[in-house]
């Protein structure tokens, strides 16, 4: 049995999905976390649950909402589980009424009854059940309360949909429904009532579907006729007419099932929002929180932990491996490849795991507490100046973890122009793979101001994104802009388990990559540094790696790091940004992180080090991001533009920073 999970954005569908199926999907306290459908098996039941992106209506506005309409039209499922937010019953019922029109068996879960109760809203589920004629129960998906009852209800409920006719749309529309049902009879299993109403509401997907079934001309004629009739009767468009008819029914339902208490104080959320989304304080508060986050990641907590791990890898672990290699009688070559190549390359990246996890933990904390949605609102004012809006900041924030899901999250944006712009900007966000480079360099050059320097890089990433957006929206990209409406989720105290899952989800890729690609890259880089035109075991300056890196070195001299070592690391950085660190570890083979930092101090000046970090932040999206951009934009032209503009911006900015810095006397 296949059960499809429908609901408005941010009503806790993914929480419910995890709770019902026991799986660990990523949950975020903002709209649009699920951009594709996910499938999970029910605990102990022979049923599968399909989690769909959150939508306000089955008539889609954006690409991710289209996923749901396509699903309804083309995939098979047996029942519908509709989750609605107890605090927002009226708005949520719009979707519910459309789902009821599908004629499939439906069970409703009224979620977050606890939050609603705190706001003074009580929902009478029994009354709602009676009115709608389908099973309704209340749940708290986050804590799992009521989920067992809901699971039982949805798997055991009858296989017949509600036959209660809730809305009468008037003679014109009801007759059209009958007419279309005769036309599509035996051609489709989808309810003709639903198909007709969606068609009349202007659902493009449904129109195409019906065109294919009945013929475009017939369909256009039907629409035209209804439009004329409705206009004569009510002086409204069909879309408005249907919407208003539904709204009247919803208002009368809401009056019967919702009880509002008047004795509640203004909720904590409102007081907090007045502060954190304040016109003047919003951005300083956001920056301060970021600063504290970086202090914890780089200074207070992260560095000592990374040092400990470094001590373990370069001490006991290396000794153990050395001992084992001696025991099996490994040759000098094997010794070198394992210790100078793999341990240096992979170990050099793994050392930063604690810092990456601390950063992810705090990003998850900010997301889950509900604060990140406020940041999008705060950023909205700034984003509007550059032809975007706050919604575009959400993919960008996801990009702080990894650019690939960030680019994918741009699907939630409605207008094609804004979607493309967001896709192009997201790679400018400093992803976690760039973090080890910062960690290494701030440790070597900016010991006193680690967090501040890293914060400056993140902020530069955002500022460059805003400037580039302005330039693009003025030149290459013109088009309509959309309105920004964000639902501010209630603040909540994150649960440790959810936080840990979310942190682990974001961080596990880093560890997995260290064991796979970084391993392979380390072996390759080491080989290239071991062999040269003169043979093997050459001086590293005469190796193939030095030759390849040397090709690019002159290009980078004006921006402060014209060495073959920098050239070679930047080249590997295209494949995966972490590889920059493993390449450096192999090139400057030294026993531990602090000696590498010492050695770096002889090759870079602090100014050149800053320029290098800035270059890494901006210079090119990694291979996986480029591939995702290609897929999401479906355009070779825009993929190439995304690479070229990033490189040009990085180069020009670094040139400015380095040359002006030198003039000002920094070295």
């Amino acid at each position: 049995m296949e059960i499809a999970l429908f609901g408005n954005p941010n009503t806790g569908k993914t929480s419910l999905f995890n709770s019902l199926t026991g799986s660990y999907e990523y949950i975020g306290n903002w709209s649009g976390v699920t951009v594709e459908k996910k499938i999970g098996a029910f605990k102990q039941k022979a049923a599968r649950l399909i989690d769909l992106p959150g939508i306000y209506s089955l008539n889609p506005l954006s690409k991710d909402e289209g996923v749901v309409t396509q699903f309804v039209l083309h995939e098979s499922y047996d029942k519908i589980l509709n989750i609605i937010d107890a605090s927002q019953i009226e708005r949520n019922l719009h979707l519910t009424l459309q789902l009821l029109e599908l004629g499939k068996p439906i069970v409703i879960g009224v979620n977050m009854v606890d939050v609603a109760s705190k706001r003074g809203i009580e929902v009478h589920t029994e009354k709602l059940e009676k009115i709608l004629g389908i099973p309704v129960t209340s749940v708290i998906a986050r804590s799992g309360k009521g989920c067992d009852v809901l699971a039982e209800m949805v798997t055991a409920s009858s296989n017949v949909g509600s036959n209660k006719s809730l809305i009468n749309y008037g003679k014109e529309i009801e007759e059209t429904i009958l007419h279309i049902s005769q036309l599509v009879e035996e051609k489709t299993k989808i309810s003709s009532r639903w198909l007709t109403l969606q068609l009349l509401e202007g659902n493009e997907y449904v129109k195409k579907y019906l065109n294919d079934l009945v013929g475009e001309e017939k369909i256009n004629l039907i629409i035209e006729k209804v439009e004329q009739n409705i206009f004569q009767v009510s002086a409204k468009t069909v879309e408005t007419f249907i919407y208003q008819t539904r709204r009247e029914v919803i208002t009368s339902i809401a009056e019967k099932v919702i009880v509002k208490r008047k004795d509640t104080h203004p909720p904590f959320s409102e007081k907090m929002d007045a502060l954190v989304t304040n016109k003047w304080l919003g951005i300083p508060i956001f920056l301060s929180l970021m600063y504290v986050m970086f202090m914890l990641t780089f200074d207070w907590l992260g560095f000592p932990l990374s040092d400990l791990l470094d001590g373990f890898i370069t001490g006991p672990l290396t000794n153990l491996i050395e001992g084992l290699l001696g025991l099996v009688g490994a040759s000098k070559f094997i010794h070198a490849i394992v210790l100078d190549g793999i341990v240096a390359g992979v170990g050099g990246v793994l050392v930063f795991v604690p810092q990456i996890f601390i950063l992810f933990f705090f990003i998850s904390l900010l997301e889950d507490s509900g604060y990140m949605a406020r940041v999008a609102l705060v950023m909205d004012r700034m984003m509007e100046l550059v032809g975007l809006n706050g919604k575009a900041f959400i993919p960008m924030m996801i990009g702080f973890g990894c650019n690939v899901p960030g680019v994918m999250a741009a699907r939630t944006i409605e207008t094609p122009k804004e979607r493309l712009l967001t896709i192009l900007l997201t790679p400018l966000m400093s992803c976690s793979a760039r973090l080890p480079v910062y960690a290494l360099f701030v440790g070597a050059f900016f010991v006193e101001h680690k967090a501040f320097i890293v914060l400056s890089l993140y902020v530069i990433g955002i500022i460059v994104a805003l400037v580039v957006a302005k330039v693009f929206s003025k030149t290459l990209l013109n088009g309509e802009t959309s309105l920004f409406v964000i639902e501010l989720p209630p603040y909540r105290l994150p649960q440790f388990q959810t936080l840990w899952r979310s942190t682990w989800d974001k961080g596990k890729g880093f560890i997995r990559k260290a064991g796979t690609f970084i391993f392979a890259g380390s072996v390759l880089i080491w080989l290239l540094s071991y062999a040269g035109p003169a043979g093997v075991n050459v001086n590293m300056d005469d190796s193939f790696l030095a030759m390849i890196g040397g090709l690019f070195a002159p290009l980078f001299t004006p921006i402060g790091f014209g060495s073959w070592q920098a050239g070679a690391s930047l080249l590997t950085g295209f494949l995966a940004k972490e590889a920059i660190i493993s390449t450096m570890n192999i090139i400057y083979f030294v026993p531990d992180e602090s000696s590498l930092q010492g050695l770096l101090a002889t090759s870079y000046s602090p100014l050149a080090a800053y320029s290098f970090m800035l270059f890494i932040l901006l210079y090119i999206p990694c291979l996986a991001t480029v591939a995702t951009i290609r897929k999401e934009t479906a355009s070779r032209k825009w993929t190439i533009i995304s690479i070229v503009y990033a490189f040009v911006v990085a180069y020009v900015l670094c040139l400015l920073v380095y040359q002006v810095g030198k003039l000002l006397g920094f070295s």
Partner: protein, 54 residues
């Protein structure tokens, strides 16, 4: 000698495999890792993640 050959082939074999896999996966974007890519009905209805309860 045997240990050297064995270790060498494990290291290079695994490295080659991982390298190839990473490049393939990166180039194809998300779909390469997809468990149901063969049953895929197109991008708009991407069923990219199948998570079964174990």
């Amino acid at each position: 000698m045997l240990a050297n050959i064995l270790l060498g082939s494990i290291i290079f074999g695994y490295a080659g495999f991982s390298f190839y896999k990473h490049i393939q996966k990166s180039r194809q974007g998300k779909c390469a890792a997809c468990a149901v890519k063969n049953a895929c009905k197109g991008e708009a209805v991407c069923t990219s993640q199948v998570t079964d309860n174990k």
